[in-house]
Amino acid sequence: MIKPLSFELCRTFFDLAKPHPNAPLHVYESDLYADWMLRGETDRIGTNMSMPPVYRKLLVAESRLHMYEAPTPQDLPAHLRSERWQAFVEHLEAWETLDSKQRFANARILLALTYHKQASGSLLAGLSERDIASDPYVAALFYLNQFAAFITCRRIDQIPELFFRIAKDGPVGSLARVQSRITISHLFLDYVRQSELAEPWILSLPEEFEALSGTVPANDRKRLLVRYHTLTARLQEEQNTVRLLESYQQVLDILQSQTVQQPEDQILREEAKRRALDQFSLQARRSNDLELATRFAQEALQVDPNEGKAHWLLADLYYLQGNFREAAMLYRRAARLGPLATSRSWFMAGQCHEQLREAEVALDCYQAALETDPESPSVWEALHRCAQHLGIVALADWAQSTLNSNTSSAKI
């Protein structure tokens, strides 16, 4: 039987098979790392490690393909593994015998496939923190290990000290040093929310990028520069549309100057563009310029038309502007494209249909939302409201009794 659409689109997460021709760009992260691992190209810079730890688990659950449930890559049954997954597993099983460079190449795949728990555990066996200053791959492994642990625990009250150590003591011209600085910048902006603390780290980046010139290909360094420009745009506290558009033009110029020889060059360029557009859209939204935010989000969707996040970012903007019909369409498309926001997208689609006075359709959306997140009180409440409005007593009673029992168990 044909497997669900989310399996086809995100196949690489299931078994490291080559991506579907219409796959969203985030799928290429693990694909490229797997290719580079096999080719021994460890100094390439891929996309961001953007998918959270629950991603693969959700993907498998929502696709109802439970045979792909594998708490570790080694747990995936042999008959379901692609050749690349098999090679990857063999490396994991021979971890003790791998040098730091090989370990780094495989650790990146581990994180790209969202095996954060495993990456936060056994990556560092036999390695010493003392080597961070001398071995770029050891530094990178410590960085990945810390990153995985941080993302898994989500302790946002403080930035792990190790990031600062790698950022300062990691070998100049190493990916770990640059990546730590970018991560610190993001954490100061997004979690600590103090842009003045982020600023020195952001401003240090161009010099750090320069130091990569001996090892990292020019295209990859240019994409780092794109990230620098999206970060500097965040430093604008006041509404400054002109400045934002200037930053965007700079990003376009940089990406335009890239040489595209291989299909992967194109993919990496598009992915960088999409991410920059996401960031610019969010920045414009923070500045209450919904029109500009919408323009950026629309363009992001054109760049990556099968990415769920691109759909719901734009849908949110339509919703804020009262364009519920368009918003509902995009939320529905987002939900179809799979995690991470399936339940949220269905819920928001329901909200739109309620605004449009289409209670039956809204009810359908809320039922779909509960399938992926059966514990959301907001969804239960909305379901109850709609069922009551429609006079579907059986469904309203059930929603009410579930709400009551959830409330009482919460009290207990």
Binding site: I2, A328, M329, R332, D364, S405
Partner: protein, 437 residues
């Protein structure tokens, strides 16, 4: 996905259709036919033996269990259900099923009736021996033979495979004219002759046999049961004039069927449920009767009335949607179909498919796509939903969906659900007419 809460009370279909899961009562409002198993259970201890009209097929049970996600209840026999999930009533059913062969014949018949109401048709075939219909010596053995024959009939009809109703013929052969089982068998044979074998003479003969019983009902036969028997008889008998094209007689006989159902004296809750269920069933037939003469307004009024009597029956809602669509009220039809889909089986996939079809006609392509995707979720082998989805995905330029639907269609061709020619012609017909394929 197995239900993440894995807690049955949080599963709507469990609370809505609970009798089918464990013979517990529905938690709130439910369709009248959900009470069929409970009535059959209560009749284990009485001599009264009236039940509901709308007994679902095996597919209903299978779909209900699959759609609920409560896989622990997916069993072929009551006694396979884990003890921790059994209610006292279910426990008793398990014991009765295990001791079936040592039960009195009368009790055996009642157990078979209960198993049929729950959808355990295969188990009925296992418990009642194949030679039941040739071992009829009295009304009890005739009832057992009828239950077995009925289980076989339902299973065969469901699979759409070759079938001859020999066992019902045996019931006619071995029972006296005043036997209720004979009357029941004659009605089934009449329906089979009218709908399947299309043999008019057979249909007339079986109608006469069934009528003989109605005519000879003793004067002390209880009034409530008499109304039920007569109503059901006229509804079956109307197949004969229908086949003859005599719509006036059809109207007359169906009116009698409705009148007898309406006037059945109701003095208990059980009787109220039985009559409501019979009335809904009769109004469904009367809707088709009105449709056959092209009177959609009357058909609408009749099925609307049925939906008012039993607002929680998805099948009635699907029929109401059909009439609304035929009367040009496409969006309202889509809403009614969705309401039907929300109530689960029978027909969840069909309801979503039809809602999708209506939304497509109304220009709501995204809603239509989601409806077809849901139809495919509840019935992954739906060729029609796949083909509609393919077209809609093409129209809206959603390439991943196009590719995915194409893969499904290619798979259907490979497994023989669809020939390449049918695929092409279906797609082109649908494109030309905008109608379902």
């Amino acid at each position: 996905m197995s239900h993440p809460l894995a807690h049955r009370d949080s599963v709507f279909l469990y609370s809505f259709r609970r009798p089918y899961f464990d013979l517990g009562a529905p938690a709130g409002a439910s369709s009248y036919n959900s009470y069929g198993p409970l009535l059959a259970y209560s009749m284990l201890d009485t001599d009264w033996s009236n039940g509901i009209e709308r007994i679902p097929g095996e597919g209903f049970r299978l779909n209900l269990l699959a759609e609920s996600g409560l896989t622990g209840y997916a069993k072929w026999k009551p006694q396979e259900l884990d003890e921790s999930l059994r209610t006292p009533s279910w426990q008793r059913l398990c014991e009765l099923t295990e001791q079936y062969h040592s039960l009195a014949l009368k009790q055996q018949a009642k157990v078979l009736r209960l198993l049929i109401c729950l959808g355990f048709y295969r188990l009925v075939l296992q418990l009642a021996p194949p030679e039941s219909s040739r071992q009829i010596v009295d009304e009890e053995t005739a009832q057992i033979a009828c239950h077995r024959a009925f289980a076989r009939y339902v299973l065969h009809m469901q699979k759409n495979v070759s079938y001859t109703p020999d066992d019902f013929q045996d019931v006619l052969k071995y029972t006296p004219s005043d036997s209720f089982s004979r009357h029941f068998a004659a009605k089934i044979l009449l329906i089979f002759a009218a709908k399947v074998s299309r043999n008019m003479q057979h249909a007339i003969n079986f109608r006469d046999v069934a009528h003989q019983y109605v005519e000879s009902l003793p004067s002390d036969f209880d009034t409530f049961s008499r109304h039920l028997v007569v109503s059901r008889f006229y509804r079956s008998a109307s197949f004969v004039p229908f086949l003859q094209g005599d719509m006036r007689t059809v109207e007359k006989e169906m009116a009698l069927a409705e009148e007898y159902a309406r006037n059945a004296p109701v003095d208990t809750e059980e009787k109220r449920i039985i009559v409501a269920d019979l009335l809904v069933s009769t109004l469904e037939s009367r809707m088709r009767e009105a449709m056959a003469v092209g009177d959609f307004e009357l058909a609408h009024a009749r099925i609307q009335k049925a939906a008012e009597i039993d607002p929680w029956d998805p099948k009635v809602l699907i029929e109401l949607g059909e009439i609304l669509y035929k009367r040009g009220n496409v969006i309202e039809a889509a809403r009614v179909y969705l309401k039907g889909a929300h109530l689960g089986p029978p027909g969840t996939s069909l309801a979503y498919f039809l809602a999708g079809f209506c939304y497509e006609r109304a220009g709501e392509m995204e809603l239509a796509i989601d409806c077809h995707l849901k139809a495919l979720r509840f019935d992954p082998s739906s060729v029609s939903a796949t083909l509609r989805l393919l077209q809609l995905a093409q129209k809206t330029g959603q390439l991943p969906l196009v590719r995915w639907a194409e893969q499904k269609a290619e798979f259907f061709v490979r497994v023989g659900y669809l020939t390449p020619g049918e695929w092409i012609s279906n797609v082109s017909i649908a494109t030309a007419s905008g109608g379902p394929v």
